[in-house]
C-alpha cells in the first residue's frame, strides 16, 4: 500500500480542562475523499484546525509527506493543507480583491479560470462581495483556496448553506478536482447522505474520539461501535 500523505498519531487536544480530542490516530491517502461525521461538539472542526495548524495538539504528532507538520514553515504548510471554513469570509471589497490578497501577481484570466471551476461567471470579477449570496461566497472562498495550490483540502461543511442544485454541482466538482489534481480531500459533514455520495472513506467522531472508521457505506449501514449505532439511529432513521 502507498504511504499516507497525512498520518495522525495519538493526537489529543484540551482547551482548559475540557478534552476536545482524545487519542486520535488515522491515516489519509492521496486521491481519496474522506468524510468526517459525528454529532455537534464531537471535535470534527477542531481536528481540521489542527491539520491547518490554526491550533496545535497537546500531545501526539501529525506527519505530512513523511515529516512532522511542525518542521514545515507554518505559512507554507497552510497553503499545502488548505482549509475552507464553514462560514466563508471574504475580504473587502470586490471578488477580484480576494484573489489578489492571496496572489498579487494573478491575472484576470487566471481568476476567471478559477471562477469557472466553481461555476461562477467571469463578469462577477469586479462585483462587490457584499452583493454575493452565501452560496456564491462559499464558491468564491473555494476558488480562492485553490489559488494556494493545496495538496490536501480541508472542507468544513462546505455545502451547509447551499441549495440542493448548487450542492450537487459542488460535490461533483470536489470529486473531479480531487481525482484530477491528485488531491486528498477531508470533508466535515453533518449529512450522512452526502458522505455516501462521496462514496469513499468515513471517520465517525464521538466525544472527541474516533468511534470507528473505514468504508463509508459499511460505517453508516452496519456500524460496529455503540456510538456508530446511536449515530445511525439518529441520523438515518
Amino acid at each position: 500500500m502507498d504511504k499516507p500523505i497525512l498520518n495522525i498519531s495519538h493526537v489529543s487536544r484540551n482547551v482548559g480542562d475540557i478534552k476536545i480530542l482524545s487519542d486520535i490516530s488515522v491515516s489519509f491517502y492521496q486521491n481519496k475523499i474522506y468524510a468526517i461525521l459525528g454529532p455537534s461538539g464531537s471535535g470534527k472542526s477542531s481536528l481540521l484546525r489542527l491539520l491547518n495548524r490554526l491550533d496545535d495538539p497537546g500531545s501526539g504528532e501529525i506527519i505530512y509527506n513523511g515529516k512532522n507538520i511542525n518542521s514545515y514553515p507554518v505559512c507554507e504548510l497552510r497553503k499545502k493543507i488548505g482549509y475552507l471554513f464553514q462560514t466563508p469570509y471574504l475580504f473587502e471589497k470586490t471578488l477580484k480583491d480576494n484573489f489578489l490578497f492571496v496572489d498579487k501577481e494573478i491575472s484576470d484570466d487566471q481568476i476567471a479560470a478559477l471562477l469557472e471551476k466553481v461555476h461562477l461567471p467571469q463578469k462577477m470579477l469586479d462585483s462587490s462581495v457584499e452583493k454575493l449570496s452565501v452560496g456564491e461566497k462559499q464558491r468564491v472562498a473555494f476558488a480562492r483556496l485553490l489559488l494556494t495550490k493545496p495538496e490536501i483540502l480541508l472542507l468544513d461543511e462546505p455545502t451547509s448553506a447551499l441549495d440542493p442544485s448548487i450542492t450537487e454541482s459542488l460535490e461533483k466538482f470536489i470529486q473531479e478536482i480531487t481525482l484530477k489534481e491528485n488531491l486528498t480531500t477531508i470533508i466535515v459533514t453533518h449529512n450522512p447522505e452526502q458522505a455516501i455520495r462521496f462514496g469513499q472513506q468515513g471517520i465517525l467522531l464521538s466525544g472527541g474520539k474516533i468511534a470507528e472508521s473505514g468504508d463509508i457505506k459499511s460505517l453508516l449501514e452496519s456500524p460496529q461501535s455503540d456510538a456508530g449505532k446511536r449515530y445511525k439511529a439518529r441520523e438515518l432513521s
Binding site: C75, G82, V102
Partner: protein, 250 residues
Amino acid sequence: MNNPGITEVLLSLILVAISIAISRFWKIEVEKDIAIGSIRSFIQLIAVGYALNFIFDLESIWLILATLVVMSLVGAQAAMNRVKKINSPYLLISFSIMFGSFFTIGLMAVLQIITFEARYIIPLGGMVIGNSMNAAALSINRITSDIHSNRHAVETALSLGKSWRTASLMYFRNAVTTGMIAILNNMKTVGLVALPGAMTGMILAGADPLDAVLLQIIVMYMILMAVAVTSVVVVELTVRQLFTPNHQLK
C-alpha cells in the same frame, strides 16, 4: 491682568460655590464631587507648584529625567485601567509612552528647538506624556477589541498562508489611526474653535500673540510626533502578544 495671588484664588472660590448651588438647586447631586474635586485640584496644583520651583532651582538633568519618568508611570497607570487580555500591560504602556515622549523631547533638544532646561522640558514633557497616555489607551483598546471581534477574518487570512503581520495589518493601521485621531482633529480646528492651552497661557502672561502662536505650532507638531510614535509602538507590542510564534491567534 495682575499676577494672581491668594486673594484672587480665594475670590475664585465664588465660582465653585455657584457650581455647588447649581447642583443643589437642580438636584444634580454632584456637590460632594465638586467640593472634593476643588480641594483636590487645589492641593495637587499647589504641591506641583512647590515641586516645580524646587526642580527649576536645582536644574539637575537627573531630576528632570526622573520627573518625566514618574509622569510617564502615572500616565501608564491611568491608561491601563481599561486594558484587558494582554500580559504585562503596565510595562508595555509605560515603555510605549516613554519611548514616544522621550524620543520627541530628545529630538527637539538635539535640534535645539528647545533648551534642555527644567523650565521648558517639564511643562512640554507633561503635554507630550498626557497626549501619549491617551493615544496609548485608545490604540491598545482598539487593537485588542478589533482582533478579537474579527477573529474569523484574521484566521481566514492565516489559513490561506498569510503571516500574522499580514492578517492583522488592517487592524494595526486602524488602531494607530485611533490613537492619532484627537491630535489630527485638533490640528484641523486649532485656533478656529478654541485657543489651545500653551498659547492661552502665554497670552495671559503678557506675551505677544504672534510669539504665542509660534510656540503653539511647535507644541502641536511635538504632540503629533509623540502620539504617532507611541501609538505605533504600543500597537506593535500588543499585536505581537495576540499571536503565537506559529502564526496562530491566541
